[in-house]
Amino acid sequence: MDIAGALSVDHLKFLADGFKVTLFIAFISIILSFIIGILLGTLRFAKIPFLSKVVAVIVETIRNMPLLLIIFFTFFALPEIGVKLSPTAAAISALTLFESAMLAEIVRSGLNSIDKGQIEAARSSGLTYIQTLRIVVMPQALRRMVPPIVSQFISLLKDTSLCVVIALPEFMHNAQIVYAQNVNYVIPIFVVVALMYFIVNYCLSLIARRLESKQA
């Protein structure tokens, strides 16, 4: 093992560049999948004839597939039917697609956890169904959803590492370039990469735990 060589200033700068890409991709995907997840989850909850069924089938299909397959598919298979995406666009689309389906389930069970009496009471006070969802149900459900949503974001951040398969210049990809130079760099680089992920994700999980205990 060559710890000093592996962790030279140039290497660390290069790794930091990769980490920035990881955070950027994760951030964009989090925002997009949050919006789409709420939309899909609500549509499934609202039991609109036909539409809710279609959403359910789509969500269940995506949720039950490996993310790696979806990433692979968006980058390598879509060009075959004429959709060519850059690694960045493919990574963001694949992560957003998968995480939206996961979040849709969290949103649906959050909405389901609200007492049905509340909807009935709101409807009898003259609110429309949309108003009821927006003003009465959603704010309460969102508060309950926060901890599982944060854990889902943690797994999203971890999952960005799978984008090495499409040569996205993110953290794992840059780490591979560094340790490929010298076999003695492998273990030190792995330790640094694991620690970086750990620090960021552990902080997020502490936030999730605080929010959880505040609710209780």
């Binding site: 039950n64 490996p66 397959l69 598919f73 298979a77 971890k158 590492s161 794992m172 273990i187």
Partner: protein
């Protein structure tokens, strides 16, 4: 639109991958369950150092990507002289990673049983182990089965990671088929179908168990 001849011509290759995906998932499930139980017991045990080791394991492993653990076994260990095949490295990594989630599920399950039950059992003359085995665990298992089922579904999906270390699973053989037929889209649609054949029935099963066990409470 989708060319079924690809599936028929390469059925043996697909099935070989399918078999290995199932095999890796089952071995990793058993492994992660054993590690998970040990870590959960460490986390609830009154002995401080054990407690500490259990917590570090869970917090560290949960918060790093599975890919790093897999690469550690496949690329990291050979750099210090231990060589593993992709299948073995991937399966070990899956077991270690999933164990951290299973340990948390088991710990939460045991702690969800009211403390009074243990106290009552102990005052009726049962030893700690007897009370744990006959009173606490049967109740905890009911709480723990659905989350462990969900972890198993995740494990099956995560097993695609074997494809990245030449682990002879569905992803790996899908790659192989696409590289000699020069078709990607259809080949991966079939790979996806094979995964769904495994995960959809599992999801439905876990959903059913969740409802039944919730009713029996």
């Amino acid at each position: 639109m989708i060319d079924f001849s690809i599936l028929i011509d390469n059925l043996d290759t697909y099935l070989e991958g399918f078999k290995n995906t199932i095999l890796a998932s089952i071995i990793a499930l058993i492994g992660s369950f054993i590690i998970g139980v040990i870590v959960a017991v460490m986390r609830i045990s009154p002995i401080k150092p054990l407690n500490w080791i259990g917590s570090v394991y869970v917090e560290f492993i949960r918060n790093i990507p599975l890919l790093i653990i897999t690469f550690f076994f496949y690329i990291g260990l050979p750099s210090i002289g231990v060589t593993l095949t992709g299948f073995v490295a991937g399966t070990i990594a899956l077991a270690i990673y999933t164990a951290s989630f299973i340990a948390e599920a088991i710990r939460a399950g045991i702690q969800a049983v009211p403390k009074g039950q243990m106290e009552a059992a102990r005052s009726s003359g049962l030893t700690y182990l007897q009370a744990m085995w006959t009173i606490i665990l049967p109740q905890a298992i009911k709480i723990v089965i659905p989350p462990i089922g969900n972890q198993f579904i995740n494990l099956v999906k995560n097993s695609a990671i074997l494809g990245m270390v030449a682990g002879l699973d569905l992803m790996y053989f899908g790659d192989l088929v696409s590289s000699h037929t020069f078709v990607t889209f259809d080949v991966y649609i079939f790979v996806a179908l094979f995964y769904l054949v495994l995960t959809i029935p599992l999801s439905l099963g876990v959903g059913y168990l969740e409802k039944r066990l919730a009713r029996s409470h």
